[in-house]
């Protein structure tokens, strides 16, 4: 139960490779923060620095009010769950969970009480006598979490705990982590490369790339107002469509022109752009697949597209479209609203029209890749 503060934290490896540049973040007490980003973005390194498994090359790290840069991992009052579980294979589940308590010279009764309590929370009471190799992946992960929660740590670190599990189990464990978090009310730092997991679990998401923080915000914030192309592309599935377009500053405000259509921007956007004194320029327009509207007939100001691929997902269709110089636009089309006739026409090569309102459009500068409005 403590806050974690990282000020200008930096990690430079011996071979002069900088893994983390100037990391600034304040994690509040009892907050669930998710570090997310592609492989090699420095998220695990940051977590390991917090854990004390990596030396900190620069900056200060505080847990609570204490600077812990040079404190041994065992004295930081943290617990960590590893991607590969890291269970001790030679001792039973019970002893695995009791290991840290025994190192702290707790009495046997206390150890027993805590282990049983943790096992009950995680539903692994019946496996306490087994060795880790006799457990399935999900059970092992539960033991790994159990090993962390018996300690009742101030900060709970999780390094991609679910990525070794199969998809179904991962969904189940994800839900359990949400429940667990309600029971074990402490600070969580969770590292992950899957944006869905990050969105569902985190109070706040820290999106990282190449050792830099790209954006910090609640899941809703990073989804609605991505500050740059990277964040926009990283969050959301299927990925956001990026279209080459032109921003035109007209007499009655800004409008975006693309593929023969011209879409005027709404008032908020106009104000924001005018406030930044932005003129007419080439832009990259970002539109999420779920925000496009598909029209089956000709419509003014709609973009004409050809179907390339039709992916049936059950509740919805993912259509991969091409249009003039844009080679791939993905749209999501709920199947509920479609008539049998419409559905039959959604074949390779058939034409349809898409349109989208101004408020779902994200405008990015092609040079700096920043969001023109939020960035």
């Amino acid at each position: 139960m403590a806050s974690v503060t990282l000020e200008h934290v930096k990690k430079v490896y011996d071979n002069k490779v900088t893994a983390v540049h100037d990391f600034n973040l304040e994690i509040k007490d009892k907050e669930f923060v998710v570090f997310v980003g592609p492989s090699g973005c420095g998220k695990s390194t940051t977590l390991r620095m917090i854990a004390g498994l990596e030396d900190i090359s620069g900056g200060t790290l505080k847990i609570g009010d204490r600077v812990v840069n040079d404190v041994e991992p065992k004295d930081r009052d943290i617990a960590m769950v590893f991607q590969n579980y890291a269970l001790y294979p030679h001792i039973t589940v019970y002893e695995n969970m009791a290991f840290s308590l025994r190192l702290r010279h707790m009495s046997n009764e206390e150890v027993h009480k805590r282990v049983c309590q943790a096992a009950e929370i995680l539903g692994i009471t019946e496996y306490l006598g087994r060795k880790p190799k006799a457990l399935s992946g999900g059970q092992r992960q539960r033991v790994a979490i159990g090993r962390a929660i018996v300690r009742d740590p101030a900060v709970f670190l999780m390094d991609e705990p679910l990525s070794n599990l199969d998809a179904k189990l991962r969904n189940q464990m994800r839900a359990e982590i949400i429940l667990l978090r309600k029971r074990v009310d402490t600070t969580f730092i969770y590292v992950n490369h899957d944006q869905t997991e990050a969105m569902t679990l985190g109070d706040r998401i820290v999106i990282m790339k190449d050792g830099y923080i790209q954006q910090v915000g609640t899941p809703q914030e990073v989804f609605d107002t991505p500050v740059n192309l990277f964040v926009a592309g990283f969050i959301g599935s299927p990925q956001m469509n990026f279209l080459k377009a032109k921003l035109i500053k007209g007499a009655d405000g800004y409008s975006v022109s693309l593929l023969g259509a011209s879409i005027p921007l709404n008032r908020d956007q106009n104000e924001a752009l005018a406030g930044k004194k932005i003129g007419s320029q080439d832009i990259i327009l970002g539109v999420r697949p779920e925000h496009t509207t598909v029209l089956f007939g000709q419509n003014t100001n709609a973009i004409e597209c050809t179907i390339n691929v039709n992916e049936m997902m059950g509740s919805e269709l993912h259509l991969h479209l091409t249009s003039q110089n844009q080679d791939r636009i993905i749209v999501r089309l709920p199947t509920v609203d479609l008539t049998a006739e419409q559905r039959a026409n959604l074949n390779y090569g058939s034409k349809l029209y898409i349109t989208f309102p101004a408020k779902v459009m994200h405008l990015f500068d092609p040079e700096s890749e920043k969001n023109l409005i939020w960035g």
């Binding site: 011996d14 065992k74 590893f82 290991f99």
Partner: protein
């Protein structure tokens, strides 16, 4: 066992019924074909010839040593082949001569006997003419039948007018004549007993060796025949072992004590030996018990093997018991201390050195490997490279330096045991490769997890890594134990000349490096077998882990 033989026959019969007979018939005719038989015969002949040729020198050596064992004080005794062949009477004579071998011991001779011996050997007189003349002149005026040569010799030694070197030569000459006299006595006896004539040594070697080898081969063939009837085989083994035991018992009491120059066996010796034999019997019982248990388990794994009845086991038990007992008895004949040899002491030295080295070296090797595998520190790569290059130089290069260093520390000669422990442990950290390789395969996240759980580096090493690295720990212990256990080079020069601090290897070498090595040959063999005991025991106990360890270091298991 006879049921075992019947099993294939029963199969053939059922095959006949079900109409699959032809195949088995072909099998039968094939095995009976002339070609096959000729090949079989040829193989047998080659095997017999080879085993005779191969066994001959060994058998001869054993004969020689037995011979010199009977002949007081050892020494090469010319062999005689009796004209009439080996008759029971001849053997009886041989044993009686052997058991009363004291007769051949020559400590002193009357002047008459001395000069008779000298005259009987032209070469001896010619080669030592000066010394012989000196003794002859000194003996003048004495009574040849009553005065002894040693009294003459002491007179010569006091005579200042003769040069020191001449006096020494005379003394050495006297002893040579003693040994010649002994040989002459022995030969005379045998000439008389066997009515034999002397045959060149190589003929003797080959004829005696070949005879015994043929006997061994015949025994093997007999055993093979007997093998087809297990009951007979057991009876046979039982008889042989009883014979060996009785012989060993008599040897102990009657000859060994005598050979060592003690008084003839007293009643107390029989009791004492009886107690020792009883102890051996206890060990043998335990061995038989575990042997039968294991054998039963192993046999069960053979498909189609008829289940063993209790009677089968009971039949085996006494034979095995006697075999084990004989093994113990024969092995321990090395343990009897004689002048200039202390096998138990050597064994103890070796065991002490090997155990200490095993413990210290294991601790060092594992710590170094763990550090190099897990810790990242400045110069780590450099240390590993330097150690690699240093390891290319043979350890023997440092021998002389080590000797002087140890000498200045007082760790040579009487202090050889701690000195050797120091040498063996000194550079043990350089052997970190295999265990480092093994540690590298243990996921690092286990260390990290334990460290976050609150363990110090040492606790991680002790509580997490050690249990997981059991195979490599076993491997390291075994290697660390075996090195000093079998070492000769370092042990021989560090303990140079100090018999009580020899290790087994040096001691055993000492036994076969003396003039009358035949006298020690049986002891040498027995001592050699005992050396194998701890290593065998260690391997039997730890082989499961050892196999894991050897492969486990290379590939993640």
């Amino acid at each position: 066992m006879s049921t075992m033989k019947k099993v294939p026959e029963a199969d053939v019969m059922t095959d006949n019924k079900s109409g699959v007979a032809p195949e088995s018939k072909i099998e039968k005719t094939r095995s009976k074909s002339g070609h096959e038989r000729r090949v079989n015969t040829a193989v047998y002949v080659v095997l017999i010839v080879m085993s005779v040729v191969w066994l001959t020198p060994f058998v001869f050596l054993v004969c020689q040593s037995f011979r010199s064992f009977l002949n007081e004080g050892g020494g090469m005794v010319p062999y005689v082949i009796p004209q009439k062949g080996f008759s029971l009477d001849n053997y009886k004579a041989l044993f009686i001569k052997g058991f009363t071998a004291k007769k051949y011991l020559v400590n002193d001779l009357t002047l008459q006997e001395f000069f008779d011996t000298l005259d009987g050997d032209e070469t001896l007189a010619r080669d030592n003419a000066e010394a012989a003349a000196l003794l002859r002149s000194a003996a003048e005026g004495r009574d040849p039948a009553k005065d002894t040569i040693s009294s003459v010799m002491s007179a010569v030694q006091k005579d200042e007018s003769v040069g020191q070197d001449k006096r020494d030569a005379a003394s050495a000459f006297m002893r040579t004549v003693f040994s010649a006299a002994r040989n002459q006595r022995f030969e005379n006896d045998f000439r008389q007993d066997f009515n034999g004539r002397f045959i060149p040594w190589w003929t003797k070697t080959f004829v005696i060796g070949a005879c015994f080898s043929l006997a061994v081969v015949a025994l093997c063939i007999l055993l093979k025949r007997l093998n087809e009837n297990s009951d007979q085989l057991y009876r046979f083994r039982l008889l042989i072992m009883l014979g060996i035991l009785i012989a060993a018992y008599l040897c102990y009491v009657l000859t060994i004590k005598q050979q060592m120059g003690y008084a003839p066996a007293a009643a107390g010796d029989y009791v004492q030996l009886g107690i020792i034999f009883l102890l051996f019997a206890l060990f043998s019982l335990l061995a038989v018990n575990s042997f039968l248990k294991r054998e039963g388990k192993l046999l069960q794994q053979i498909p189609g093997y008829p289940p063993e009845t209790a009677w089968d086991k009971i039949k085996k038990a006494p034979v095995l018991f006697l075999e084990f007992l004989a093994m113990f008895v024969v092995m321990t004949c090395a343990l009897i201390p004689t002048e200039n040899s202390d096998y138990v002491g050597w064994y103890g030295n070796t065991l002490t050195i090997a155990l200490f080295t095993a413990v210290i070296q294991t601790v060092i090797v594992l710590s170094v490997s763990y550090a190099l595998s897990r810790l990242r520190f400045k110069g780590r790569k450099l240390i590993m490279n330097v150690v690699l290059v240093l390891g290319l130089f043979p350890g023997f290069l440092s021998m002389i330096t080590l000797y002087f260093l140890l000498k200045s520390l007082g760790m040579t000669g009487p202090g050889a045991v701690p000195g050797l422990i120091l040498i063996y442990c000194a550079s043990s950290g350089m052997g970190y490769y295999i265990s480092k390789g093994f540690f590298d395969t243990i996921p690092k996240s286990l260390d990290e997890s334990a460290r976050i759980d609150g363990a110090t580096r040492f606790q991680v090493f002790l509580k997490i890594i050690m249990p997981l690295a059991k195979p490599i720990v076993i491997y390291t212990v075994l290697m660390a134990f075996m090195g000093p256990w079998g070492d000769y080079v370092f042990a021989s020069y560090v303990a140079f000349g100090n018999v009580p601090t020899y290790n087994v290897a040096v001691g055993l070498y000492q036994w076969v490096n003396v003039a009358d090595y035949q006298g020690y040959f049986t002891l040498f063999c027995a001592g050699g077998v005992l050396v194998a005991v701890p290593i065998t025991a260690l391997f039997l106990a730890l082989q499961k882990y050892y196999v894991e360890g050897v492969t486990g270091g290379a590939v993640k298991g």
